[in-house]
Symmetry: C2
């Protein structure tokens, strides 16, 4: 993966040190969490620093708190930053589980490479994520909150105090865990607005496939406009034909009857690197290929807004949903494109229709321990120590 | 510009408070400055915070030092950051000058809008920049260093402690001043490598025209590859025809004899928003239009790498240079494109040839006070107070 020569130390979870907080905070009740505008994090975080000469420091688990960053820190100027978003799920059996973490840690490695941040062994990062949750999980997501989750955010930032634009020689990796509002499917299903012609999220030869900060901030201006007009998110189209790519920060799926009569689940391909290689996306595709192969073909290819319009007009449009860690699986009931609405069938009040519901159910069952599956791994939790 | 209603306070330079450092630092000698890997900033900085409900705080001039930022701060995750780069020049007449600052502060406002950061009156920001230099200029760029400069970096970052992706409701504006290595023209002139087909800097519908962090970090991976191969910077081409856009972080100019025999200064246009609207770029165009109009036509239009190759083959390629605040005016002697070199005439050892030299001379004369000009404004300096 990376070549560690001489004294350049690799990231090593076995070196993790533990410094517990002496001022543990109270876990807010569900109502406070839902209304709070700031993300409330757990008692601890894990931090490891890196520099090009000595490599990674021993990771430290320590009290959650602010960083001290010089105004010249390169992450504040040149978007040297990448991250992951994962959830830890409190199961109905009382156990805490994480879902396909191996994919997230590998994706962070890829994102770090794209944005010139340091390399690391992803398995070590995975161990660190589990270590933090094994300390804070029991208190911050108690067994009484079965069916709820914590949000886990591993992040890497460039910290060189140097205004010249250059490859980072210093960086900080950190893992924080917080409560995030549950982003439930809006009543009536999600309504999308296609992006205006003069704003594109990502492009061939860019970095739309990497989870780097530079993909997020710049898209907020148009997303705000969608909200102002009463839509939930942007459906990002690409190119002169209007290829469908992502829906907000989620992957975008359509289920339709093809012109040849065959039922199909379709989503954008990865090969032109326009979209994020979503863990939920991959899981949807894998599950449908495995469990619904007799009734549904699964296709990853470019498809256009025009094809969706045509399918709708001809009564072949069956379902659509967005898939991602933050929003999970949310049915899409409407796409507004250049002055025209495309209506998409859902269940009652925008609940998932047949296929969407099956996929959501299967994944939720794994995450919350109703069904044991390789993709969901139990976090061994420590006894409350603070 | 922005609508300040009710209690939302505008940015107001008249409210600036002064808290001087009690631990002034020594100004390093020129040799130390040149060899230091970190940017050495002056004794003070100016900071103003903003939130969506109350608007801008009273700006504070205070000792330079680290910020305390929560790990959830939105600038560390979603690239909510934009900046400007300016220089303060110590003139041969002993005065300190800034160059067309009004353009930089307006561009920062535009960049802030693009990345969903708060609006402000740019004239107030300009006053703050002058206020900081009037305090730190005399000590950190003494009259004994005529012909040298300080680098000025106004920056805005989003500071919401909130992992949900949303328009920032809290932000920090800060101005820091530091020493930057003089980026002199390399011996033999600058050698550029065209970007590989699979990497694009900016795109139509993106944000290549805004000075946001998201334009910088992602381009470093390919720039490193150019350095590894012995080139100084990337010449960023766009689209199937290979339109010339920027050279590294500078605007790109060519002087050639057109096929109709007319001499022309050509650079990429602004209308498709692929490139930064450079202050040095604009100044070059204005000066040549005014002072060389009888010998040189000035054109802002798309032009391709193929046109440059053809002009070189036919002996019509006269000069080329990159223009920007950081590198100022640097002659380009070679472009390597898809395995072939394009050689470009320069003066001896890569020094500026005729037209490039004239432009560089005119601008340098204004900046360093050899000639008085509206574009260069003197900073009224305080007596040393620390």
């Amino acid at each position: 993966m990376s070549s560690h020569t001489g004294d350049v130390r690799p990231l090593d979870a076995a070196q993790l040190t533990y410094t517990y907080t002496t001022t543990p905070r109270e876990v807010p009740d569900v109502k406070t969490l839902a209304s709070n505008k700031k993300t409330i994090c757990t008692d601890h975080m894990i931090v490891a620093s890196w520099n090009v000469e000595s490599g990674w420091s021993a990771p430290e688990l320590k009290p959650y708190g602010p960083f001290s960053l010089l105004p010249t820190a390169s992450c504040l100027h040149y978007a040297y930053e990448c991250f992951e978003g994962l959830k830890a799920y409190r199961g109905h059996d009382g156990k805490l589980r994480m879902f396909r973490t191996d994919r997230n840690v590998r994706r962070l490695l890829m994102s770090a490479e794209r944005i010139s941040l340091p390399q690391f062994d992803p398995d070590e990062l995975e161990k660190l994520i589990f270590a933090l949750l094994s300390v804070d999980g029991a208190k911050w997501l108690p067994k009484s909150r079965a069916g709820d989750f914590l949000y886990v955010r591993p992040t890497i930032i460039g910290t060189d105090a140097q205004l010249g634009i250059a490859r980072p020689t210093e960086a900080l990796l950190y893992i924080i865990v917080g409560h995030m509002a549950r982003l439930d499917t809006p009543t009536g299903g999600k309504r999308l607005l296609t992006n205006p012609d003069d704003t594109v999220r990502s492009w061939v030869g860019g970095f739309g496939y990497a989870k780097v900060g530079a993909n997020y901030g710049p898209s907020v201006l148009v997303s705000q406009e969608a909200t102002r007009q009463g839509y939930h998110q942007i459906l990002w189209l690409y190119g002169p034909e209007g290829d469908c790519t992502e829906a907000g920060g989620s992957n975008f799926f359509v289920i339709w009857k093809r012109e040849d009569g065959k039922k199909e689940l379709i989503t954008a391909p990865l090969d032109d690197q326009l979209i994020l290689n979503g863990v939920t996306r991959r899981s949807c595709l894998d599950l449908v290929r495995e469990r619904l192969k007799d009734e549904l073909e699964v296709t990853e290819r470019k498809f256009t807004i025009g094809e969706i319009q045509k399918a709708a007009t001809e009564g072949r449009l069956l379902e659509s949903f967005a898939a991602g860690t933050a929003w999970f699986i949310t049915p899409i009931s409407l796409i507004h494109h250049r002055g025209k609405d495309i209506n998409i069938p859902t269940g009652p009040d925008g609940t998932p229709a047949e296929i969407t519901g099956k996929i959501k159910g299967w994944l939720g069952d794994m995450m919350y321990g109703r069904v044991e599956h390789d993709w969901a791994r139990v976090v061994p939790e420590k006894e409350l120590s603070v």
